[in-house]
Amino acid sequence: MEILIAAAVCAWITFFAVWAYLKVKKDYRNDSSSVSVTKKGKDTVR
């Protein structure tokens, strides 16, 4: 059970961190004309 709780702790922090990353990446893609983000997730700067 202890391992499950630790895994849950890891999972929800990872969830928020990934959500934050995707949100910020999307914001830069929508707002910036100088940055493009490829489908593979690599950030390329023109």
Binding site: E2, W12, F16, A17, A20, Y21, K25, D31, D43
Partner: protein
Amino acid sequence: MNIYFVGMIIVMAAFLVISYFVSRKVRNAEDFYVAGRNAPVLLIAGSLLASYMGTGLFMGDAATSYKGALGPMTIIASMLGAGSIFGAVFFGRQLRRSNTITIPEYFGMRFHSDSMRMLSAVVSVVTMAVYLISVVQGLGTLMSTVTGVHYHICLIACAAVFTFISVTAGSKGVLITDTLMAALFTLSLLIGIGFIAKETGGYFDTIRSLASDPDTSAILSWTGKPGVLGFNVNSTFDVILWGGVYGIVWGAVGMISPWQASRYQMAKSEHVILKSSLIAAFGLFALDFFAMMAALLVNRVYPDMPDPSRVMIWASMNLMPKIIGVILLTGILSAGISSATTFQSLIGASVSNDIMKLIRIRMHPEKSAEQNTDRRDIRIGRIAMIAAAVIAVAISVTNPQALFIIMFLGSSMIASTWMPVAIASVFSKRVTKTGAFCGMLAGFAGAFIYKIATYFAGWEPPVYLDSALVGMVLNVIAMTIGSAFTQVTDQEKAARKKILTMPESEKEPGDVKRTLRVMRIGCFVGVGIFAVLLIFWLIPYMNAVGK
């Protein structure tokens, strides 16, 4: 005069000298209240850690863990970290874009409402005052226990130091001293836990020994020792519920509490906000976990301590060489002072920039467009900070019975009063100024009245009826009803658009690339925390109990 007293005096004198030099660079109200909006990652991350880590951690959380609630406390510490990341992305950046000095000013600007600004300023001052009193009492207890000096003198000495820092150097000084204090208490904790472990028989051996002893095994289990979380928390389901509810409360603190989110108004850019929140998320969790683990280890040599809130003080004075004890105790003192400076400077900012400004405009409308009010704003803020310190010391000295009423508000205030409105201010197109006002008022008053009523009725509500949850639900209901009968104005639409629009200055390609790289690495924060839990708790514990 013992060596601990000398150590504390040296550290406090050092911070006074630093803040004196920083004060010479304060030129205007922006410098004083938001550090010129120019703070780098190091200072923002340091202040995020130092503002949260106070006597509450080293005396409160440490005591709870010592008594046997490490597992449940770890769950809520992780929610605090998650809240920190969420808050930076979905509230911190928007807060900075508003170009405001305080969070009440942000609410006033977002909802185009002076009433909203005034209400949130009053709530903010009350909240900060409650926390300030709590920290002042912790500092006085710590210093008098360690040095043998009278409690009242210790209260006055600590208040004089943190007031000098806040009043002279403002937020700039607070950020710098916070960061130095964060470095000091992090270092002292890491050194301290090493010596505690050495004296108790080695870190891993102590865990194995405590876990294999039937009398102490439960304090290392994830559910904790039965009854330690209250008589309503008994079953596994109760513990999960407890972790969930208080996890939300702590998550709200990491997300939108004034002493965390206001740091983002001081950041040089949004890139700084995003990077520092990731450092804070891991740092908050790791420091919390190791402070709690250090306290728990003491069970091996001194179980059933009469006053568990002094477990870290006892360990510093009895389980480590004097010089290391001095370092750890000055680290704990620094943690308390750094939190006090943050609370105090926020009180000054809200009184000066929000409450007094709105009263002045109401009384003299012709002066609403007045320029160059910096000197007056700083003066009013300084007076408010000194008044806050005097009141906090006076209350701590007299300890009036009526105090318990206000202390009831405690940690549930952030979740019940601020969180729903803060989130709605960014996410909702429909929430109006009336809705936001009703929501904040209902959350604040509802949680307070409910808490008082349950106390006088002699009823301890189950976890799912905690005042924080009740306040949050009332907040959302009142906000929904208030918004349903009113319309969003053009000014509110424009304000929301402003906070959702990324400034051009944030789009520099090099900065964007670096920030996204850091955030990709940040996706592994959870894995790092999992590794810490496995190595420093679960593997030795599970080996010992044969799981």
